[in-house]
Every structure is written in structure tokens, then in C-alpha cells.
């Protein structure tokens, strides 16, 4: 681990955990707010799309597998939850902590380094998104739509997926001049991903060019892996590699940009 200027400073997991505990303490203190904001959205989507639209659509055939619309969209909501929860906590929340509360700056003069503060931030964003995604997984298993083993394997996988979007959110926070300007990536990147990467319908419904474009965005491989694990869809071999690529790219990059901004 290198510090802000490339000198070698070991990353202390205890220090990262101390930062993570800060977020957890806030979450626990406002637990009702935390529960509502974590679980309301996936459950509302499930009710609207899973039950409402699902009853209209019935069964889909995707890649040789027959699947009801409800399980299909429920798996989509796992990915959507990871995206939305990870991104919003890190982008808006991260901006507030950096710009208004100046919490990163306050902690980074204790034995905790700035790098560790930002690791803690990303780890927390991913934890919270994983918690929300787990709620959807539990619903999926309870309804008999998801494979139990797949759902169990998906919990740690969701943490990795969430890191991508928490890092994306932190990167956006680092590059935004004002809190309002976070809306640009929100409408131009996050919402298009949410609508076109296959949360609500199979990618194969789209023109081939759009399908190919969808694979340029990180939500597509995430959704592919979610459906492989809980619905038994055939593995699309590029998906795990793309997930690793996005984690390896965005996690260090977001930290670098945020450190660059704070030290400017």
C-alpha cells in the first residue's frame, strides 16, 4: 500500500475497521432511517415489477432457460439494489462527508491515514449495499424463486459487486464541484445502466448494437453473474473477468481522485 505520495505505508486493517465502525455506529443510531432507506426501495420495486408486471408477462425464455418473470426481475433487483445503494451512499454521502462535514480531513490526522479513511468509506458503502441486496435474496429464497446455495454464494459476491458502485460513487464525489453536479452522472450513467443493462428485461430483447454497448457498463456482468448463481442461467464467461476489471480499475482510481482533491 502506498500513501498519498507513493511512499510505502502498510494498510492497517484495524484502522480501516475503526473507520467502518464510525459508519456502522451512525447506521445503528438511526436504525429506523437506515432500515427504511435500505429496504424500502428493493421491496417497492419487487411489488411493482415482480407482482404487478410479473402477472402480465408470465414466463420468459432466456438463453435456453425458461423462467418466470418474477424470479427474473427479482434477480435484476438484486443487481439494481447493489448499484443504487452503493452509488448513492458513496456519491451524495461521500460528498457531504468530504465537503460539508470534512470528516475525511478530521480523521486523516489521527493514526488513521487518508487512504485508510477512504477504504473504510468504500467498505461501508459496499456493506450497506450488500445488506440491502441480502434482503432481496432472502425474499427470493422465501418465494422459492432463488436457489438457496446460489443465494448464499451471492452474499459475498454482492460485496464485491457493491465495491464497484461504491467506488464509482466516491469517484463522482471526488470529481463533482457542487453537490448538484452529482446529478449528471446520476442521470447520464446510473439511470441508463439501471434501465438498459438487463434489470427488467433480457438483454437479448435489445438490438445487437445496444446489447454490445450494454456490456461496456459494469452492471451488465453483475446481473449476468447474479442470474447464473440464483437462477442457473448459463455462465457468460466474460462476466467474472469484467467484474474483476471494474473493481481493479475503480477502487484505486476513486481513492486517488479523492486524495487528489483533498490535498489540492
Amino acid at each position: 500500500m502506498h500513501n498519498e505520495v507513493g511512499q510505502f505505508v502498510s494498510l492497517s486493517y484495524r484502522a480501516v475497521y475503526a473507520v467502518w465502525l464510525r459508519y456502522f455506529a451512525v447506521f445503528r443510531k438511526n436504525w429506523f432511517y437506515g432500515l427504511v432507506t435500505t429496504f424500502a426501495e428493493p421491496i417497492l420495486f419487487l411489488l411493482s415489477f415482480g407482482l404487478g408486471l410479473g402477472s402480465l408477462i408470465g414466463t420468459l425464455r432466456v438463453g435456453g432457460v425458461s423462467v418466470g418473470y418474477r424470479p427474473f426481475v427479482l434477480a435484476g433487483i438484486v443487481g439494481q439494489t447493489v448499484l443504487i445503494q452503493g452509488f448513492f451512499e458513496a456519491s451524495y454521502g461521500g460528498f457531504v462527508r468530504m465537503y460539508y462535514q470534512r470528516i475525511f480531513q478530521a480523521i486523516a490526522v489521527t493514526p488513521v491515514t487518508l487512504s485508510e479513511v477512504l477504504w473504510g468509506e468504500t467498505a461501508w458503502g459496499a456493506s450497506r449495499a450488500t445488506l440491502a441486496a441480502s434482503a432481496v435474496l432472502i425474499i427470493g429464497v422465501a418465494l422459492g424463486d432463488f436457489s438457496v446455495l446460489g443465494a448464499l454464494l451471492l452474499v459475498p459476491a454482492c460485496f464485491v459487486f457493491s465495491m464497484i458502485f461504491a467506488a464509482l460513487g466516491l469517484l463522482v464525489a471526488a470529481r463533482s464541484k457542487t453537490i448538484e453536479s452529482i446529478s449528471y452522472p446520476q442521470y447520464l450513467l446510473v439511470f441508463p445502466m439501471f434501465l438498459f443493462c438487463g434489470v427488467f428485461f433480457p438483454l437479448s430483447q435489445l438490438p445487437v448494437m445496444v446489447q454490445k454497448a450494454a456490456w461496456l457498463f459494469p452492471l451488465t456482468p453483475v446481473l449476468s453473474l447474479v442470474r447464473t448463481l440464483v437462477l442457473g442461467f448459463p455462465l457468460e464467461i466474460q462476466a467474472p473477468f469484467l467484474v474483476i476489471f471494474w473493481v481493479a480499475l475503480l477502487v484505486p482510481l476513486s481513492r486517488r481522485f479523492m486524495i487528489g482533491r483533498l490535498l489540492r
Binding site: N3, E4, V5, Q7, V9, S12, R14, A15, A18, V19, L21, R22, A25, V26, K29, Q101, R102, I103, Q105, A106, I107, A108, V109, T110, P111, V112, T113, L114, L263, R264
Partner: protein
Amino acid sequence: MQLSVPLRVTDLVKTYRTPGKPPLEAVKGVSFEVASGECLGLLGPNGAGKSTTMKCITGFFQPTCGEVTILGHDVHRDPREARRGLGVCAQDDNLDTDFSVLDQMVQFGVYFGINRREGERRSLELLRRFGLLDKKDELVEELSGGMRRRLQVARSLINQPKVLVLDEPTTGLDPEARRVLWDILAEERRKGLAILLSTHYMEEAERLCDRVAIIHLGKIVTVGDPRALIEREMGSVPVREEIRPGFPIERLPNLEDVYLKLTGARLSTGVAFS
């Protein structure tokens, strides 16, 4: 155990490089030491390099050149060890508004590896001394500006530091709150705390600091005991000035006269240096 100087700053240089702009040399070779139980004041106009110097000392900024050691540990090569003994009260309000007064202090202790039980004991003691004990369960947002400032200084003492860096700690405090803070700082000094303080209040510097360093355009232009500095720079000739139209007075020179003389600034009218 070998005794090391609590705070040593050697040839500190900090140049800001922003792409598309010419490099800005904010600090151009600053050196000083602060001994145990000593209070050193950094005085200088806004933009002189005080805050940049302090941010390099706390290890937040990496200096372009030079070295900062806290209790013998280089703050950039070994930040964890160095900052264990360092308390910092930044110029900006950076209290964690998601926490109550007490929880905030305890959580801050966690970053130093202080467990909650011990953190709570220390926090209650500090809150008592800072006159904030009856506010312990309130959210930071509910405190007045002066109380927030006091809380920020109290929080910087949670790790029982040996070196305390205070960037304009009394800006915005009312006279009583300022006295409380001065008394606490005096008490901590008696226990051996080394304090580096920046301030715009000359009477505060005269009162608190064993030595003051006047910093101008990124360099220390003079350093010394406030009284000796006044004597050296101004002599003992009384200063005549018209404080209000038709109200000429004669007074002894003070630190502000030294400051204004050395930083090249002058009050717009009425200041006559003899």
C-alpha cells in the same frame, strides 16, 4: 528512554502544483522546534503559509521538501507512530455532525485505538473541564459556535497528546469561552504539552506564547519572546496614534506594531511608527 524534541520542523517547503497554473510556493523553507511545555505562536497574514505549515506538520499534506518529526517520528514516513502523540484542532469546523457530543469524542478515540470504556472516561473528564458536560447527549448541530469550537479542542486532547497543533482556535469565541480555553491550555502546558498555535489575536499571542514566529510570504521573518521582539523591533518609544478623530493617544508599542511592521502592512490611517 531517549528524550526527543516533541516537534521539530526542518527546512519545510510546500509548493502547490495545479495543472494549468504556475506553481505556488506557499511555504519557502521554514524551520523551528517546540519544546515540551512550550507554546509557540505562528502569526502572519492570511495566505502567509500558516495553515499550509500546520497541514504539513499534521501529515495531511506532504511537504515538497523538508522534514517534520513528532517525538522523533517522521510524520510522513511513519504517520501512524508520529500521530499517536499528536492532537490537532483544524481551522475549519470538522466535527462529526452525525454524532452526539460524547459519542463524537469516544468515536474519535477509536481512531487512536482507545477502547470505548477508556474513551468514555477520558471524554467525560474533558467535557467537564471544557464546561460541556451538560451537553454531552446533544447533537453537535444544537451547540453554539463557541461550544463547537471548545468541543473541537476537547476532542483533540482525547489521545492525551504530547504535541498539540491549534489553527486559530479562538476565532469566533466570546471572551469567557476564550478564557476557559486559555486556562486549559496553560494547565496542559504545565503537564508538558508542546503547543503550536496560529492566531490573528496579538494579545492572545502575547499572553499564551513563550515565543512567536511571524511568518510572511512563506518565510519566518522573525522569531522570539514577544516582549523581546517588541523591544528589538520597536524600541520603547511610545507610539502615537489617533484612534478616533480627535482622540490622539500615546501608548507603549505592542506585538501588533511588530507584526504590522514586519509583514509590511499598515492600518489604513493613523498608525505612526516612531
